[in-house]
């Protein structure tokens, strides 16, 4: 059992952590399993999908066709250096493009959400949920320290993970 204080891996049932002495009696991992799961696990365990990207000057028609052909809900918009500059999602199609349907040839950059919220592989799932709730997002780009996209996660990825996790917990108990 991992000590929440110093992360020492104690034998199950220990009353006190062998390394730092912190009481483990009142720390009940099974009682807060959801909290444990989403706080301990990082985005990396979700195996973020490889992002589909498009440059901002590409026509919005191309963006919509790409999303449709690949059955995805969003594209990451990157500049010619590969840096993330925006995100174009189904919601942008509905909210920004649907009233301008004649503008199929216009650049997707005019319909994207720029400077999107991003997360990194090391961030916790809890933080990703907070970010989604904060912005009302269903997708979050995963970037490296240079703001280059390395993947994308969706709220569905998190739901899928939690379903698997709960099944594991039921089996274990």
């Amino acid at each position: 059992m991992l000590c929440p204080d110093c992360s020492f891996d104690n034998i199950e049932g220990m009353d006190n952590c062998e390394a730092c002495g912190q009481s483990l009696v009142k720390f009940d991992p099974s009682g807060g399993e959801l909290e444990q799961t989403i706080s301990r696990h990082t985005i990396g365990v979700l195996c973020p999908s490889a992002p589909l990207t498009i440059e901002p000057q590409e026509p919005v028609a191309t963006a919509i066709a790409t999303m449709s052909n690949h059955h995805v809900g969003c594209l990451l918009v990157v500049d010619n250096r590969g840096d993330l500059v925006g995100i174009f999602t189904e919601r942008d199609v509905l909210n920004r493009f649907s009233s301008n349907r004649r503008r199929l040839a216009d650049p997707v950059g005019e319909f994207m959400t720029d400077a999107p919220m991003t997360i990194s592989d090391d961030d916790s799932i809890a933080y990703a949920l907070h970010a989604m709730d904060l912005g009302g997002y269903r997708h979050l780009p995963v970037v490296d320290e240079n703001n280059r996209p390395t993947g994308i996660i969706s709220v569905r990825d998190i739901l899928r993970f939690l379903c698997v996790r709960f099944a594991e917990l039921r089996t274990a108990s």
Binding site: D5, M117, L134
Partner: protein, 339 residues
Amino acid sequence: MTTELPVLTAKDFASDQELRWCPRCGDYSILAQFKKMLPTLGIPQENFVVVSGIGCSSRFPYYVDTYGFHSIHGRAPAIASGIKGVRPDLQVWVITGDGDGLSIGGNHLMHAIRRNINLKIILFNNQIYGLTKGQYSPTSPIGKRTKSTPLGSIDNPLSPLSVAIGSEASFVARSVDVDTKHLTAILHRAAHHEGTAFIEVYQDCNVFNSGAFYYASKKGVKEENVVYLEHGKPLIFGANRDKGIRVNEGNRPEVVELGSGISEDDLLFHDEKADEPSLAFLLARMRHPEFPEPVGVFRSVERPVYDLALDAQVNEAIAEQGPGDLETLFSSGDTWTVE
């Protein structure tokens, strides 16, 4: 007859209270280093007091087996000052956060520091209000989107160290929650300082503000973004220790590459004992990404200690006028009876 004092260990300072921090919270690391440091001070366990305000940081006293107060929002420095005033023999630690200490508690913090009361203040800076689920704080950067700043913060953030130095702090330091050896060393130095010791700790809130300090904590990244301060030594950083900080002709710091005509002698040398706080302030203003951020002891100077001076005044007054009686004091002067 002499009584041998027990040799304390970190385990002696572990409490039996239920831990309520989120898993992977940076507070755990700070707690662990704190408990490791306390036994090394040679102070009896009952002579420690930990006083906190309100916030995630402020759950700290529950998890340390010492005397403690989980007090009211922002007032820990005031309560701690009172403790030191009547019991100067106790070692008193104040645990606060960027919200508790710099928002509602800014005033108390400033006065405790400027008085140089012998308190050890640790400010857990996670740039967010964590306990209340993610509102921006006085240290949140401009543009930070949170529950209370959906369009991005338009507040200019405070620098805790700038506030401390501006309040005439005699000991100012910064460390990072996961830099355990460094943090322990800084806590140790603070414990031994005579007067107010102020430590800012970069602390990761992995639920509401994850990654705020990755640049200063992640191995392979922090080497280019952090410069370790050592008294009397030049400011050198970088994975290959090939970069330094010097002050240019405009009296502004600049990052330079060593070699090509620039040697270590051209760099800024740290002086934590400097009488004037200007150097410490200059270092405190160096912010990522423009500069590597300094960690370590920015300033450590001697100043009269308030609680000792207070104690001396009280003793002098007692010597001249006798011990005094509270009941007599209450009934003296202009009094009246309400019937």
